[in-house]
Amino acid sequence: MADIVATPKSQSHGDHYDVDYLNDGSLLSWLTTVDHKKLGVMYLWSILFMFFLGGVFALLVRLELMNPGQTIMTAEQYNKAFTLHGAIMVFLVIIPSIPAALGNFALPLMLGAKDVAFPRLNLLSFWIYVTGAIIATVAMVTGGVDTGWTFYTPYSTTTDGPVALMTFAAFVLGFSSILTGVNFVATVHKLRAPGMGWFKMPLFVWGIYATAIIQVLATPVLAITLLLLIFERLFGVGVFDPKLGGDPVLFQHFFWFYSHPAVYIMILPGMAIISEVIPTMSQKVFFGYKATAFSSVAIAIVSFVVWGHHMFTSGQSQLAGAIFSFLTFLVGIPSAIKVFNWITTMYKGSISLAAPMLYALMFLILFGIGGLTGIFLGTMSVDIHLHDTYFVVAHFHYVMMGSTLIAFLAGLHFWWPKMFGRMYNERAAQIAAFFVFIGFNATFLPQFLLGSRGMPRRYYDYLPEFTFLHQVSTVGSWLLGLGFVIMAGYLFASLRKKMDAPSNPWHARTLDWQTSSPPITHNFHEIPVLKQGPYDYFKPFEPSVEGYHE
């Protein structure tokens, strides 16, 4: 595409061309905006709100588990609490968190594009997300659902409550995710700045691209699974109900065909952020760029063939179990490549320990624990013991909360100045990070022990011998909550001061930093022409956007 002609400044968009996007248009115009940056910000607020809601349910769950026996709620209420906690955190928070909020904001900027490929589709997918959230809320207030986030049949087809509605909400949310994925794949393929070959793309883009592939290929299966479940409840078709000749294990195949790749929909964007933060904060060229880029795609593809590791005890055949176990281990390899590449990237860097980097380092440690405990679970004989115990709960909180959400926080702090044009209080950020780290480990490290000693999950009551560890975990969850309260405090505070962020506070070299903070409505005055790789910190900075200055 050598023939690209830069749009002259004066053409079509004259008047609001130079205004930063936050102040461009009335408040009401946000609701119908097709600007990827505004959509990203709206996603961000919705997701943070949902995270707060899911967090409140988490704290309730932990409070109930403070002591054996009934503490603050009945068994039914507890079952609804953890179901809603899981469902909110998965479908409304973590799956959209990085791609839809930060990805929407940063991806086109990083590619040097003016917007995503299909801006109106982007708006549609945001409103579909909101619709899904509303339906889920309706399901919550009209009785709540007690199936667990996995909706296993035949429990889910026979229990009372608005299960069909909740399922429908997840179905709708799936479409939001699909459309985001379609949009991003097309954007990456077609809207890269001139000069940006595939291997000149920032690794964040690679990660989001791999994620989008999974979103496109796996989410439709979730849609049809949930539709079949609704059908099953409404008409009693019986595909998953043994009483009518169906096979409940088949439901698990359907569910995990989506939901295992979905855990990589969660982690790949997190890894993508880390791949951005570490070289930038270390001012070092990325070690093993290509290997890291390919490993994202490798993880995406292999993730489709390991889902059966959730079903070792479910009555699937041993042959299937063996194949799935073997393939599960293979996912460890690309993950290992990534971990060691990140670490080596820091070697002989010039490392700043500002908040984004603190979270990135935290990620390395917590993902280490989360990923390495995944290996225990992939081992068949060991998983037979650990399946459906707190070991699994601890594992997935280390990878979801401890890795993906921590990466999300790294990204949030990283792009916050770019998004809102303001710097937050660094000191307060460090204190919050401390509480998050301590609180998180206090909450979930004891759960590994609980699990290996045999404490099953989804238990509202437990044997007295588990009391101490549960109490540590509950206290930990308050420390964690405290960390988030501090964070909310200084982030909101930063929004109230005047814009003071430089356009490139971290001295990054990717294109998103070569426009003003916050960016202008159309991102760049001129289409950037790539002059330098994204991480060429070993040579002087050569901006790709004309007239760029820090």
Partner: protein
Amino acid sequence: MSEHAHSSGARVYVLTLVALLILTGITVGASYINFGSASANIIIAIAIATVKVSLVALFFMHLRHDNPLNAIIFISSLIFLGIFLAFPLIDIQSRDKIIPNGLRVREQVAAPKQAAPAAPAPAAPVHH
């Protein structure tokens, strides 16, 4: 926009349609004939359908001349669908077979409700 839209002219489309109609006739005809087993009939029907689908994709949907990326997307969706079919199939087909004397998951055989003899001969798997 680009040449590919023009290159397959109306003639190609007509020929494609004729081929599709003939194949439909063959499928319907074949369904009246017994090829030995139920699965043979199904396989034949699916095979013909696949030929038809390829014709539509190649000519009506222009995959033959289109950007190969689009074909890659189309084909990978089929590959992943294949994965989705293959693993549950492996599971269901091998639920009884891998370990002799191993965990035998019997389909709904009348359970010996009363005293079971100490060592019953492993019941043959009942597959309907």
